[in-house]
Amino acid sequence: MEKSGRLYVFIGVLVLVGVIFTVRLFFLQIVDTSNYYKAQSYGSNEIVIHPSRGTIVDRNGKLMVFNDAIYDLMVVPEKAKNFDKAYLCRELGIDTAEFNKRLKKASRYNIKEPAVIYKSLSKELYTRMQEILYQFPAFYIETKIDRRYNINGAAHLLGYMGEVSEKQLKEDKYYRPGDIKGISGIEKAYEIYLRGKKGRKVVLVDKFSKQQGSFAGGKFDSLPIPGQNIVSAIDMDLQQFGEELLKNKIGSIVAIEPATGEVLAIVNSPNYDPNLLVGQQRDKNFNSLLLDPRKPLFNRALKSPYPPGSTFKTVQALIGLNEGVLHSYTKYPCRGGYHMGSITVGCHPHASPLELERSIAQSCNAYYCNVYRSIIDNPKYSSVQDGYTQWTKYLNSFSLGMKTGIDLPEESKGIVKQSQYFEKIFGKNWRSSNVISLSIGQGEVGLTPLQMANVSATIANRGFYYTPHVVRSIGDNNFVPAEFKVKHRTMVAPEFFDTVVAGMAKVTQPGGTAWRCSIEGIDICGKTGTAQNPHGDHHSLFIAFAPRDNPKIAICVVVENGGAGAAYAAPIACLMIERYLATDKTQPSKKPDMLKRMLEANLAGAAIYQLPGKDPAPAAGTKDTTAKKKPAPAALPVKKK
């Protein structure tokens, strides 16, 4: 058979086809890895399981912040093609233009990454979406955690949550578009502890985006790790009491436990309800808070430097004592003020001359003009400038003019000028008389309420402080960051504190500036301050701690435009101390009249005139014109009570 050799042609063709297919297979399966990666992304859908965020309790274990589930409609922009947009928009109740806008926003970062297209679905909408979403393979619902608050204040302290920004997305790969994170307060500072770790479930989806089960037998699945719970140092009762007291006033209260540096309360007024910044209305509420002329989002306690006024005299006395230019027995005369050439620093009538303790109790301005001059004009320094520089170093050791390092974001370091600053104004050889107002805490000095409270805590401790912190411990193992336990000593030797403490104790005793505020049975050491304010009435200030021995609480109260320190700040501080030290919080105050007066006082109107868009309050007309001028440094005529 002559054709039998053709079998080999057949065999040859089989071999050829076998080789071609093998080469092709090799190319598809081994060489071209893109198919493999496409397969990874195509047949599976990663569902992120958001962990529950850590809760926040107060120092007594009372729940302050907890979680609630919210449902976000997510979209994978890459897959959002060829769907009935009009139908989906109708169901969501938004118009197509808005929908397109959101879709565009969702596509901006990465079209393969899922992003939120509709935040916080209502219960009804959530149910409806569950029914119809099978028609929209690019869309799915993700369960997220939203915050809820047991307290309607402490907003600045706790902070609020918000969507991650594009910048943050690039910095931290943990986040995906639409994730929410802490934006301020404890929520921001302790984000990495609170957020936990996202889990994921990779599910197999078929071409209709129907889930077909776990991908690769759950090999890539992981459970979410819940965030760590945080025990705050805050005393929720004291915090709320402080907020009550500051209602209808503008100002701030900071209370610290001196022995630990734990912050017991940070009260700001105006304040806002943290519950406003969660849920569907969040963005709307946030915008109205942002535009509110009273600036309720502004954290005065940490960010607003106030002239400390006479409260500053305590620090001046300590520096003077340590420098050896002042002694407990030192007496300076006061003739209605301090007179030096053309400059007069006024003072209120009181007995004269006074020694150190009584100078604090009666807050003599002339006394501290002398003390301050003796500090910076000290002949042991070659010049006033060097003396001044040494003085600022003392302040820095009290963490004045620098950040205290509190565990909250956005802290101001206050105002303490370098000596060079004065050269620009007064020339190279400026003199102590140029900066004389600093001696009584006016002029180029500004301290935040937190810094003033920390000064109070430092005096209460007789010379040291712990970095103030609002968090007591983190997680189930009660982890305490090491920096909370570092003792910071001031440059003033401990032995000099007792004289100043004794002076502060006299403030609330008969003859002291705040004796009317004293509360029976409590040894309150304090110092009033009445800070001149170019914009209106004096700010009322008070720093205090109690009891005198083994102090439990150090406090600073600032009431803007509250007048004299003893008018508002001192009563509020004393009431706060009374409340905190009381074992039974239901027990009525020993000063019910004072409490009633504080709760009912409405000072907010006095501040309104400086706000844009509002009619000037009647109080504005009564102000003298000089008060509205920018203060001329040092030359400011000072009147003190």
Binding site: K3, L14, L28, I30, L204, K207
Partner: protein, 445 residues
């Protein structure tokens, strides 16, 4: 003396391996991830067991039948199948665009699958006749007639894929004496066809002109070859220039798309590009059907198929673990695209091993066919091998994206009763004939 059954066990074992492997892959492609009961007869993987059972029964019957029956009843079987195809054409309803199925209750019968079997028998009977050879106009015409009749009927049912399979009989005719030049011509035309789609027509004609001039110069002393050169060049040029017309007019839009997709051509751009070129018959707008072309994604099947296979990498995801398979991303994966499952779940190693086993079986069939002593058995054997090979080549070529999508099953692997039963009949009829060859010899000596 009792006749022993000298069946070729190697082929049987390869057959069993492939059928069982096929059932596994159908199960994988067709079952859902959880709670898949193996013998769930409402699902395709369950039904496949029924088809395997029926096939086994028919195989048993074939092995018990006297070998002479097949020779004797060849034309009868052929006539019956042709009759069925005609009845189907007259009464059958369209399903999936083709008039290819008889519906009996919930089961569907596809006569075109059995037409291949009948055609193989009829062709073998004719060529195996006394003193008949593949020579002379009359015999050649009869051979082509036997093949064309069922092919034309299948084509009329709009089942282009099944109709194309009848082209595999050309290979049988080649073995029986058809000149190899015809096969070369076929390959040549296919090559020209592909090149014309890929490149501008005039480039190809220019290249051919240079080749033709060189050829004529080389053989300038042989007049016949000079004429051949001129004729081939002229015919090729005509073919190239009229190809647009052929392409647009003779092929249906979806067939055009599939060919273009295989050649990596953008469907929309192709027609605008070609419209600018010189051509004898301009493509008329109405044939282009652009709107329809852009609406459907003709590359979807092949793209998904490639992704599935590519996902397998070296070792694959393992049985029932193919993510693409489980996600049912490849359409028709348990039927025509069954090879994707193999690619994804068994990887490069498993896939090549499978190709090897399959090609070994086909090669074995050709080898067995060649050793037949009578022409009837030999022609039938070559038909069996060629039909299975053609299916294998087209089906896997399609899954790998090297051939256009033509919907024909992979024998013994793809889901489908008609397919499994008819291929089993084909194979075991031949094995019966082969076994008989041994009996014949043992009787002779």
């Amino acid at each position: 003396m009792e006749e022993k059954i000298h069946i070729d066990w190697l082929t049987v074992i390869l057959y069993i391996i492939i059928v069982i492997f096929g059932a596994m892959n159908i199960y994988s492609a067709n079952s859902s991830v959880e709670n898949a009961f193996l013998f769930d007869f409402s699902r395709e993987y369950g039904k496949q067991f029924i088809w395997i059972g029926i096939s086994a029964a028919i195989v048993f019957l074939i092995l018990l039948t006297d070998f002479k029956f097949f020779n004797f009843s060849s034309y009868g079987i052929y006539a019956i199948v042709i009759g069925m195809l005609m009845v189907l054409l007259a009464t059958g309803s369209f399903e999936r665009g083709a008039q290819a199925w008889f519906r009996i209750g919930s089961f569907k019968l596809q006569p075109s699958e059995f037409a291949k079997y009948a055609t193989a028998l009829a062709l073998a009977k004719f060529l195996g006749g006394f003193d008949v050879k593949f020579e002379g106009k009359k015999n050649i015409l009869i051979c082509f007639g036997i093949i064309f009749l069922p092919m034309a009927l299948t084509l009329l049912q709009n089942d282009t894929g099944s109709a194309l399979v009848f082209a595999s009989f050309i290979l049988v005719l080649y073995r029986e004496g058809l000149s190899g030049w015809w096969l070369i011509l076929g390959v040549y035309l296919a090559l020209i066809f592909v090149l014309t789609i890929l490149l501008p027509s005039l480039y190809i004609i220019g290249t051919l002109l240079i080749l033709a001039v060189g050829f004529i110069y080389f053989f300038r002393k042989q007049k016949q070859l000079i004429v051949l050169g001129i004729v081939v060049f002229a015919a090729s040029s005509f073919f190239i220039l009229s190809l647009d017309f052929v392409f647009a007019k003779l092929l249906q839009p979806h067939q055009q798309q599939r060919i273009l997709v295989t050649l990596n051509q953008d469907v929309d751009q192709y027609y605008t590009k070609k419209a600018k070129e010189f051509s004898i018959f301009k493509v008329e707008k109405k044939h282009v059907d652009k709107k329809n072309a852009s609406k459907r994604d003709y590359s979807y099947n092949v793209r998904q198929s490639k992704i599935s296979i590519g996902a397998g990498r070296w070792w694959g995801n393992g049985f029932n673990n193919g993510t693409q398979t489980k996600a049912k991303l490849v359409p028709e994966q348990h039927t025509d695209f069954i090879f994707c499952t193999i690619g994804e779940e068994y990887g490069f190693v498993g896939s090549t091993a499978f190709l090897l086993v399959y090609l070994l079986m086909i090669g074995r069939i050709f080898y067995l066919a060649e050793r037949q002593k009578n022409i009837f058995s030999r022609v039938f054997g070559y038909s069996t091998g060629s039909i299975i090979f053609f299916h294998f080549f087209i089906n896997i070529g399609m899954a790998l994206g090297v051939l256009p999508v033509i919907g024909i099953p992979l024998p013994f692997m793809s889901y489908g009763g008609s397919s499994l039963i008819s291929f089993s009949m084909l194979l075991f009829t031949f094995l019966k004939l082969d076994a008989n060859r041994v009996n014949e010899i043992s009787r002779l000596y």
